[in-house]
């Protein structure tokens, strides 16, 4: 049985893509496994679309190779690759009906009209939109268009489905619904999904693995929880989720833990990426808002509350320690609990294992 499933992996072998002097993708080197839901996550302009167009065959890498299913794709055009791309704005054909859109890949392969219609109806059933085959594309809602675009891409029977921020045009509710839906479709068809997004929520909830990109460089590849809990660079720590950053100087390191001297005091925390520091090295300490706990004994320091934002289940509390503004997430304890008032002093602390020390580098807002 196992030799019947095709190899649906993608290997980016030291791929660089340049436009003149500008490097849009810088030495990307990773393997996407067969049947995986893999996301590229990064801010707008970091080179995600460029990377995707290179995999789908619209451009060739300036350096390096793209291998799909173990085969070198150099010189193979987009219509010859086992990939299907869902464009950022879907690119449905407005002059064709929904069924004609979905059956387009079959039409260009010379499949008979009857056969095409049958396949289109099957795919419409799969995306839970039976009976809309004769509608015009303009008559569909945003979510329906989305699903039709997916059905059309799947009609190619691709090994790899590439999705370029496909949910960005939808409203919040629909976006969340479509996340679940996309994941379900991927499980059903077993095709490798390569998903591009600048929305970390999408990347973390749907993906088997995520690659975080910044300025054309892949900063980190890993499972969502590892990306969140064990960032390997200042950019990943600041881009994925909320984070508080404290700058300081290393005082010493013992194994996984190091001590960092900051204007607010000296703190102990886990060293990110298994790096080794010398005393006197500049470094950043990242601690997430939900890891700052009032009254904790480890790494304790005094702070003053400045303001709060109420958001239901969690409250965002802002505190000042020295010159640094800190963000704290507190679970709403309901009427039984009590929140500290504005201007109050309190003691905050965090566990060394739940904070990360990383080398100084560019952060998300500066990207």
């Amino acid at each position: 049985m196992p030799d019947q499933t095709p190899d649906r992996s993608v290997l980016l072998d030291h791929v660089s893509i340049r436009f003149g002097n500008f490097t849009a993708v810088d030495n990307a080197n990773l393997k996407i496994n067969s049947g995986e839901f893999f996301s590229f996550l990064g801010p707008s302009g970091c080179g995600k679309t460029t990377m995707l167009r290179c995999i789908s065959g619209f451009s060739e890498p300036t350096e390096g190779k793209v291998l799909i299913g173990g085969k070198d794709m150099a010189g193979v055009g987009p219509n010859k690759r086992p990939t299907a791309l869902i464009f950022q704005h879907l690119a449905l054909f407005p002059l064709m009906s929904v069924a004609e859109n979905i059956a387009f890949p079959l039409e260009v392969r010379g499949v008979s009209k009857k056969e095409r219609r049958k396949k289109a109806d099957e795919l419409l059933d799969m995306i839970a939109l039976p009976g809309i085959g004769d509608k015009k594309v303009s008559e569909l809602s945003g979510g329906q268009k989305q699903r039709v675009a997916i059905a059309r891409a799947l009609a190619v029977e691709p090994d790899i489905l590439l999705l370029d921020e496909p949910l960005s045009a939808l409203d919040l509710k629909l976006r969340q619904h479509m996340r679940t839906e996309l994941r379900a479709i991927q499980k059903q068809v077993g095709v490798t999904f390569i998903y591009i997004t600048h929305d970390q929520g999408e990347a973390l909830t749907m993906s088997d693995r995520v690659a975080v990109m910044s300025r054309g460089v892949i900063e980190q590849v890993g499972e969502p929880d590892r990306i969140y809990n064990r960032p390997r660079s200042a950019f990943v720590a600041s881009f994925v989720g909320e984070n508080n950053a404290l700058q300081g100087v290393i005082k010493g390191q013992s194994g996984d833990l190091a001590a960092l001297e900051t204007p607010m005091g000296t703190f102990e925390a886990r060293v990110g990426g298994g790096r080794k520091y010398k005393a006197g090295d500049e470094a950043l300490l990242f601690v997430r808002p939900e890891q700052l706990i009032p009254g904790a004994s480890e790494n304790a320091f005094p702070a003053t509350l400045t303001r709060q934002e109420f958001e239901g289940a969690t409250n965002h509390v802002f505190a000042k320690a020295g010159d640094t503004e800190l963000r704290i997430s507190m679970v709403n304890a309901g009427l039984a609990g009590s929140l500290p008032g504005q201007g109050e002093s309190l003691s905050l602390g965090f566990q060394p294992m739940n904070a990360t020390i990383l080398p100084v580098g560019h952060m998300a807002s500066e990207s």
Binding site: N79, F87, L95, P105
Partner: protein, 398 residues
Amino acid sequence: MNRHTLFGGAYALAFFSFLFGPLVIMATTAFNSSRFPRVAPWECFTTGWFGELFGNARLMEGLMNSVIIGVGVVALAVPIGLAGALALSELPAKLRSMLYTVLILPILIPGVVLGISTIVLWGQITRGTGAGFLYNGYFLTIVGQITFVSAYAMLVFIARLQRFDATQTEAALDLGATPGQAFRKILLPFMAPAIGSAAFITLLASFENYNTTVFTVLSESTFTTALASKVRHGTDPSLSALAVIIITLTLVGALTNEAYQRRKEAESGGRASRSPLYANPVTRALTHPGIVFAILVTVIGGISYAGSQYDSSVCEAAVLQEKLDRQEELRAEQRARIEAQEAEQQSTLPKSNSAFGGAFGGLGGGTPAPEAPAAPKPESPSAFGGAFGGITAPKPEE
């Protein structure tokens, strides 16, 4: 407010009379039997000028030539224009604006220059290569007109292409289409309306062109050049009849197009179900552009047939008789006066010529002709012509 609408109304009226007044007058003259196109005095209602128009062999031959040339120009200029527009859209911006200027240049060059240079160029080519059979009015006019007509077509296509989403073609390629399939199944259907407009515009441009054609057509003639040479020899109401035909064709086209556009808009806007016009099956069918066109064609065909059966010869004969009578009357008066003068001359001293001339000029129906009656001969042809011209037409040749 009221004064505004009053002023607006007056302005609109003035504007439309300015625009359409000449057309209305001209169309009316097509039905007046007077040999000179005019509305007043109205002689007889006639449809004869249409017959005269269709009977003009030179015009009809020119029309045939225009159709042949027009079809040739459309068949070549539309693909050339499309290819030019597509090529431009593929180029980097800098090169594009440069090439754009070059391609647009033929529109800016005077047609006369294009015409003459076409003859000179192709004269040399055909003589040099021995392809002398190409040196004829049809071929030269087609290539001469294409030089600038294809630029018109290209402008139409550029405008449409600017609204094309290039990712559509990419999507087609990605879904497995070959570049040829992507072109035929995606880009070409998108361009279809522009291809229709371009074909229409190029046909019109070819048809109505004079400046270039008058040179390149050599010894042949197109409808436009034949018309121009006819007008040079004086106009008659058969040209008004032509105007009526052209106006009618334009109206039919415009009305059918309007019906088509409104229907499309109502359907795409979802208003089709709400508008009572489109909800009622009878009116819905009646406003279908095909039906509108058929009705118009039927009505016009009926009117044309009725018109062709109409005989104005009785009325015209009566008018002619009236004219002859008037003429006879004038001649009689003239004769009587001359006789009286002669009698007077014999009895008294001869009078000055100028007094005679003044009296005679008054007879001519207001045409001041101080010189003409100087000849004292009673049957002088100039005197006769002046009198006759006042009744019929001031055109000496007709």
